[in-house]
């Protein structure tokens, strides 16, 4: 830098300026440009600092809005058309015909709704109860707790598709260890994923295995933040273990319970990977594990019924929002 063109470098000029006249004129000139430069830099900095709220948030918001709002608007538009076949094919506005067709479809749509609700409700109840038991079990420190916490973390981080494949082998009616182990206590053999009536329950079992640790960890974090003395005070007052849990601990960690319910509820409604990896397209040959998400995926990418798929998706999205509101409203009451 020090050897660069002097006229571009005011500091250099000032340092090497020899003659009287030069030092009189040049510094005048350089100080002006310096001031100018710092003024623009300063004004940009001022501007950036003043508007930092939006400047920092805008890129993320623009990205999300672009990826979210345009597709959402497009889906709403498609749900009123007969779009199907190729994405480039001509489509016609058909009013609410899709909605009528979907809402009167007792063959695929309504069973999928009930399966979605049954799956979500079932796994939520199981995961909340088991997760709470695990959290209470691990609450107080013990030797080897680091190993236990790593162990319960493993299902959580495992790739859901791989988990599906893993359980597909374990629950295989002929070569799976599940039936073999149960035969020792005189149970089975069960068809598990292969059975028309047991498939959905089996996928729920897999979901419980994978995600109960999540509930346990969230509740454990809630429990760890509690003061010990309230529990002890209640104990001294003669409250039983159940009373202490129900009247002291549970109300105190209720915010964590709601967070766990919300996070798990949203993801359980949208479960796809486990269902697709164990039963394939359409939720199996009898659609036995076809939830709304699987149904909408099939309509979109197996049958290319984009219009109908969009209708199903919007109704599904409505269901998710309704479930979230139901949970958060109750949270307000507490």
């Amino acid at each position: 830098m020090s050897t660069s063109n002097p006229s571009l470098n005011p500091d250099e000029n000032r340092a090497t300026a020899g003659g009287e006249v030069k030092t009189r004129t040049r510094p005048m000139h350089t100080s002006a440009s310096e001031k100018n430069q710092t003024r623009t830099r300063k004004s940009f900095s001022d501007w950036a600092n003043k508007h930092r709220k939006w400047l920092l948030a805008a890129p993320a918001m623009i990205f999300t809005a672009g990826m979210l709002l345009f597709p959402l608007a497009w889906t709403i538009y498609l749900s009123f058309t007969d779009a199907q076949g190729s994405v480039r094919a001509e489509k016609n506005f058909n009013g609410g015909a899709n909605y009528v067709a979907v809402l009167t479809d007792t063959d695929r749509f309504w069973p999928a709704v009930w399966r979605t609700l049954f799956f979500t409700g079932g796994v939520l109840v199981a995961q909340m109860i088991l997760g709470m038991c695990i959290a209470l079990l691990l609450r107080r420190s013990f030797r080897g707790q680091a190993i236990v916490r790593v162990a319960i973390l493993m299902p959580l981080v495992a790739t859901p598709v791989a988990v599906g494949m893993m359980w597909k082998l374990i629950f295989d009616p002929n070569i799976g260890p599940a039936n073999y182990l149960l035969s020792f206590i005189g149970l089975g053999p069960y068809q598990w994923l292969a059975g028309e009536n047991t498939a959905l329950l089996t996928t729920m079992l897999i979901d419980v295995w994978q995600w109960t640790p999540m509930v346990a960890l969230i509740l454990l974090a809630g429990l760890t933040s509690l003061p010990e003395d309230t529990d002890e005070a209640a104990s001294i007052d003669g409250a039983s273990a159940w009373q202490r849990f129900w009247h002291v601990t549970l109300p105190l960690i209720w915010p964590s319970v709601v967070v766990a319910l919300l996070l798990r509820g949203i993801d359980a409604l949208k479960t796809f990977d486990i269902l697709y990896s164990t039963k394939g397209r359409g939720g199996g040959s009898f659609h036995e594990v076809e939830t709304l998400n699987v149904y909408a995926y099939g309509l979109s990418f197996d049958y290319n019924e984009y219009g109908m798929a969009s209708t199903v998706l919007l109704l599904f999205f409505g269901l998710i929002i309704a479930a979230m509101l139901a949970l958060t409203v109750r949270r307000g009451e507490k």
Partner: protein, 271 residues
């Protein structure tokens, strides 16, 4: 508090059972991946076998999993990187200026069923001839990473005191300067948490790659399906493939346990 001996025994038994229930399925997957198909079919002699790496050879040589692994890594790495650049400043701003409504818009991304976005994305990207490119996969994975990072980092910034920044400003730093020189260095644990979680979620993501990837960009979760034929399943190969997909993530989680847990439980305590 006093605890009876019976309770102590019950507790140890319950914890042991829990650990076994969590780990045995994974263990079964891994030992099955080291068996021939004939040995897998013989469930009565499950532990009587000589381990073979034959299945892994198949996975890497024939099924080309090295390439899919690179795809998975590249997509997860780049989408996480860009999401951090966009997400961390946004989380800072939304936390400091209490932009609740704006945050909800971004969180919508977490709630909406992804299939409803895939149809328009597919349509748009097909028109732009971008399907089966890394760019599309990275963009779609960012859609998952960004809300996740935002959620974790907002919680983290909420917990950082503002006094330090104010002190820095008294000493002549601009607000942005204070953020860069004081808050960001303090946020390294939060950023580490967000990074690891975002990487894991991207690595595990299945649906976006199922639709938007092709022969050139296929990621590991989609590649597993190569081992399921119409008529029969190559169980040994399938278990080896599943192990290759999921074990790297488990190893990361093993070493970064603290961060993974704090990321997964973010927002649990503040209520």
């Amino acid at each position: 508090m006093r605890t009876s001996k019976a309770f102590k025994i019950f507790r140890v038994a319950a914890i042991t059972l829990l650990v076994l229930f969590m780990l045995i399925p994974i263990f079964w997957m891994v030992i099955s991946s080291l068996k021939t198909n004939v040995q897998i079919y013989d469930v009565k002699n499950a532990f009587n076998f000589t381990p073979t790496l034959e299945n892994y050879q198949k996975v890497f040589d024939q099924a080309n999993f090295g390439f899919f692994m690179w795809n998975s890594f590249l997509v997860a790495f780049v989408s996480t990187g860009i999401s951090l650049v966009l997400g961390v400043p946004a989380a800072y701003s939304m936390s400091r200026f209490l932009m609740k409504r704006q945050a909800i818009v971004v969180m919508m991304a977490r709630v909406i069923p992804a299939v409803s976005l895939l149809v328009p994305w597919y349509y748009l990207f097909a028109l732009l001839r971008m399907v089966d490119s890394y760019a599309v996969l990275i963009l779609s994975h960012m859609f998952v990473s960004l809300p996740l990072i935002l959620y974790i980092m907002m919680g983290f910034f909420d917990g950082l005191p503002q006094d330090l920044e104010e002190a820095g400003q008294v000493d002549g730093l601009t607000p942005i300067g204070a953020m860069m020189r004081i808050t960001l260095p303090l946020s390294v644990p939060g950023i580490a948490t967000a990074t690891i979680l975002s990487f894991i979620f991207s690595w595990n993501n299945f649906m976006f790659a199922l639709v938007l990837s092709g022969a050139n960009t296929k990621t590991l979760p989609v590649a597993i399906f190569d081992f399921i034929g119409y008529a029969s399943i190559d169980w040994g190969g399938l278990m080896a493939a599943a192990s290759v997909v999921t074990l790297p993530i488990m190893i990361i989680a093993l070493f970064a346990q603290k961060y993974v847990v704090s990321g997964l439980t973010a927002g649990a305590v503040k209520g």
